[in-house]
C-alpha cells in the first residue's frame, strides 16, 4: 500500500521528479527513493552507470538484504539527529540518507549512494581490499570503482542538506516532526560543551564545586530573567542543566526532582519580572502532571528549555510594550557602548526620555537601578577578558569602561564577591567560593 502512495507522491508533485533529477545532475551521485522495505520507488536514470559498482556487488538477494539493513540503520540515525546521515556502507563507500515521513510515520527514504570523498587512485591498500571484499571479477571491479563519483568533503555537507530538503518536500505535511529531534540534539550539544568547560577545571571539578556553582548560576539566571535578557538566560540554563546532569545523570528520579527545583526557581523569577501568577502556577501544574510521562533526560531538558522560552514570552507580554521597546533599545545601547563613558543623561538621550523618567522605568520594570545595569554588562565582559586574555587588570578596567582601576576593583568585588585578580587566578572556581 505504501509503495503506490509514495510513488504517487513522487509523480503527483509535478516539480518533484525534476528536483530529484537535478540532485543527481548537480552532485553526480545516484539517487533512489525507497519504501521502508528497501524496494525502489524511483531511481535516477541519468547516473545509472555510476552505481555500476553496487549493481556488480549486489549479485544475490543476501547482499541486497545486507545493503537494506545498513540503509535502515542510517535512516534511524537520520531521524534521531533530524538531518541527513552521511555514513559508509559495507564496502566503505559513502552514502547519505534522509527519511520520508507521513504524519510522523516513516514511509520511505532517500538514499544517495555510492560516492567517494577521495579519488580512487588515492585509496589506501586497506580501503581497496575493503572494496574488493567478497567480490570476484577483479577487472570489472577496477572499472566499476573508477565510475564512482568523487565529491569534496565540503560539497558533501551541502549535498546532505539538499537531500534533506528533498525528503522534506516528499514528506507529508513536512519533516517538522524531526525539528524537535534536531532541537533536542542541539540542546544536548550545548550541555556537553558546558560539561567540557567544567572538566577543564581538572582537580577543582568535583561534586562540592558543582553545588556551589549551581547556587551562583541560580542567582545569575534570576538577574537575566528579570532583565528580560533571553539569550543570557538561555546560556545560564545550559550551564545549570549541565550541572544537574553531571550530578544525577545515572539516577533519573533524582534528576527529575532537580529539574523540578530548577523549574520553581525559573517561574519564581518570572513572577518577579511581571508574569501573571496564574500562568506560572499553570506551568508548574503542567510539569507535575506531564513529568510522569517523561521517560528520558533529553525530553526533560528540552521541556525546561521550552518553559524558559514561554516564561520570557510571558514577561515580554506583561511588560508595558512601549517601555519594553525602550528598555530593549537601552540594553542594546549599553551592550555596544559599555567601554565608553556612560552617563544616565547620555543613555536617556539615546532612548528619547528624561534621565529621571528612564531611571524610574528601569527601576520599575527591571527591579534594579540603571547604574547596576551598566555595571552588570561591564563586569560580565571583564569576566570574559579575565578568563580568556592575559591583559593587565588596569587594561581590562579600561577595556570595559573604568578608567580608574581601583574603582573597577571595588565594583567587581561588590558584584562578584572577589577581586579581579582572585577571579583570574582561580578562574571559574573563584565564583564558587
Amino acid at each position: 500500500m505504501i509503495v503506490p502512495l509514495l510513488s504517487a507522491k513522487v509523480k503527483e508533485s509535478s516539480g518533484m521528479t525534476p528536483q530529484l533529477r537535478s540532485f543527481t545532475q548537480s552532485t553526480g551521485i545516484p539517487l533512489q527513493v525507497s519504501d521502508t522495505q528497501g524496494r525502489a520507488v524511483w531511481v535516477s536514470d541519468i547516473c545509472r552507470r555510476k552505481d555500476f559498482f553496487c549493481r556488480l556487488s549486489r549479485t544475490n538477494t543476501e547482499k541486497d538484504k545486507f545493503c537494506h539493513t545498513i540503509h535502515k540503520k542510517a535512516v534511524r540515525e537520520s531521524i534521531r539527529w533530524g538531518e541527513a546521515a552521511i555514513r559508509t556502507c559495507c564496502h566503505s563507500l559513502m552514502q547519505m540518507t534522509a527519511p520520508i515521513m507521513n504524519h510522523g510515520t516513516l514511509v520511505g527514504y532517500l538514499i544517495a549512494s555510492p560516492f567517494l570523498l577521495v579519488h580512487p587512485s588515492e585509496l589506501q591498500p586497506d580501503e581497496l581490499s575493503s572494496l574488493h571484499r567478497g567480490l570476484e571479477k577483479k577487472r570489472l571491479l577496477e572499472e566499476a570503482i573508477l565510475s564512482i563519483p568523487v565529491i569534496k568533503d565540503e560539497e558533501a555537507s551541502q549535498s546532505a542538506k539538499d537531500l534533506f530538503r528533498l525528503a522534506e518536500a516528499l514528506s507529508d505535511p513536512d519533516l517538522s516532526c524531526l525539528r524537535e529531534a534536531r532541537e533536542i540534539q542541539e540542546l544536548q550539544g550545548k550541555i556537553v560543551e558546558q560539561i567540557l568547560e567544567f572538566k577543564a577545571l581538572g582537580k577543582d571539578f568535583n561534586a562540592q564545586s558543582l553545588s556551589r556553582l549551581f547556587y551562583e548560576q541560580e542567582r545569575e539566571i534570576l538577574v537575566k530573567i528579570r532583565l528580560g535578557d533571553r539569550g543570557g538566560a538561555k546560556e545560564i540554563l545550559y550551564r545549570l542543566l549541565a550541572i544537574v546532569l553531571s550530578q544525577h545523570l545515572e539516577n533519573f528520579e533524582l534528576l527529575k526532582i532537580s529539574i523540578l527545583e530548577l523549574l520553581i526557581i525559573l517561574t519564581r523569577a518570572a513572577v518577579e519580572a511581571g508574569t501573571k501568577i496564574e500562568e506560572v502556577l499553570g506551568m508548574r501544574y503542567r510539569f507535575i502532571t506531564e513529568s510522569a510521562t517523561i521517560k528520558n533526560q533529553e525530553d526533560l531538558c528540552i521541556w525546561v528549555a521550552h518553559l524558559l522560552e514561554k516564561l520570557m514570552d510571558g514577561i515580554y507580554q506583561t511588560r508595558h510594550a512601549k517601555n519594553y521597546q525602550r528598555l530593549e533599545k537601552m540594553l542594546n545601547f549599553i551592550e555596544v557602548h559599555y567601554n565608553e563613558s556612560l552617563t544616565i543623561e547620555r543613555i536617556a538621550r539615546e532612548v528619547c526620555l528624561s534621565p529621571s523618567r528612564l531611571s524610574h522605568i528601569v527601576k520599575d520594570e527591571l527591579g534594579i537601578p540603571l547604574r547596576a545595569c551598566v555595571s552588570k554588562v561591564r563586569i560580565d565582559r571583564a569576566k570574559t577578558l579575565l578568563r580568556e586574555k592575559e591583559f593587565p587588570i588596569s587594561q581590562i578596567a579600561l577595556e570595559v569602561g573604568y578608567p580608574d582601576q581601583s574603582y573597577f576593583t571595588k565594583v567587581f568585588k561588590k558584584v562578584e564577591k572577589c577581586t579581579p585578580k582572585t577571579f583570574r587566578v582561580k578562574g571559574f572556581d573563584s565564583q564558587l567560593s
Partner: protein, 211 residues
C-alpha cells in the same frame, strides 16, 4: 614538523600526513611523540572544529582517514618495539552510540603501550561487552560514550557485569566528552579516563603496573 603533521590531519591532507610520518620515522623521532603531538593532537583539533560546527561529518571522516594513514605507518613499528603483552583490554562504544574517534585513539594508545586490545566497535550492547570480557578473560573493560543519552548504557553494562560475577575480576574504565569523574564514581566504574593520551597510564594504574 610535528605541528605541520598535526595541521595536515586537520586539513585532511593525507599525502602530507603520509610523507611527514615516514620522514619522522626515518629521522628516528620517538614514535609516541609522532603519535601524540602530531597525529592525535591534529585529530583532537578536528574534533573541536566539529563540536563548534566549523567541520561537518565529511570533514571529520577525512581527518580520521588522515590519522589512520599515519597510524598504519606507526602501528607495526610500535608493535615491534613492545612485544610483551601487558594485559588484555576489551574496548567499545556503548549501545546506540556510533561515535568512535575517541575510542579509536584510546585503542591506538593502548596498543602502543603493549596492551592487547579487543575492539568491539560501536553500538555495543551490555550483553556483548560482558560476553567478550568472559570469552577473552580480559583484565580491563573500557567503554566510551559521546552522548548524554547513551551514558546510561555504561551503568547497565556495569550492572550486568556485577550480576554475572565478573565485576570482581575485571577492572572498568570509562570516558568520552560528556563523561565525568563524578559519573564514573556514581555508577561504580573503577576509573575515569580524561583524555585518550592518558589511557595507558590509567589502565596501568588500574592493574597495579608501574607506569
Amino acid at each position: 614538523m610535528l605541528q605541520t603533521l598535526s595541521q595536515a590531519v586537520v586539513m585532511r591532507d593525507c599525502k602530507t600526513v603520509k610523507d611527514l610520518t615516514e620522514r619522522m620515522v626515518e629521522e628516528r623521532v620517538d614514535l609516541f611523540v609522532i603519535l601524540n603531538q602530531g597525529l592525535n593532537s591534529g585529530m583532537l583539533w578536528a574534533c573541536e572544529q566539529f563540536r563548534r560546527g566549523a567541520f561537518h561529518v565529511p570533514e571529520l571522516l577525512m581527518s580520521s582517514r588522515a590519522l589512520k594513514i599515519g597510524m598504519n605507518i606507526l602501528r607495526p613499528l610500535i608493535r615491534d618495539g613492545e612485544r610483551n603483552v601487558v594485559g588484555r583490554v576489551v574496548i567499545g562504544t556503548v549501545k546506540f552510540d556510533l561515535h568512535d574517534i575517541g575510542k579509536n585513539l584510546v585503542n591506538i594508545v593502548l596498543e602502543g603501550n603493549g596492551f592487547e586490545v579487543i575492539d568491539l566497535g560501536v553500538d555495543v550492547s551490555p550483553e556483548r561487552f560482558v560476553r567478550t570480557v568472559e570469552k577473552y578473560e580480559a583484565r580491563v573493560l573500557a567503554m566510551s560514550s559521546l552522548l548524554t543519552s547513551t551514558m546510561g548504557w555504561m551503568k547497565s553494562t556495569l550492572e550486568l557485569l556485577r550480576e554475572s560475577g565478573m565485576k570482581r575480576v575485571v577492572r572498568t574504565m570509562i570516558g568520552g566528552a560528556p563523561v565525568t569523574s563524578i559519573f564514573a564514581r556514581n555508577i561504580g566504574a573503577d576509573a575515569y579516563c580524561a583524555e585518550a593520551t592518558s589511557a595507558a597510564q590509567t589502565v596501568k594504574k588500574l592493574l597495579g603496573i608501574e607506569a
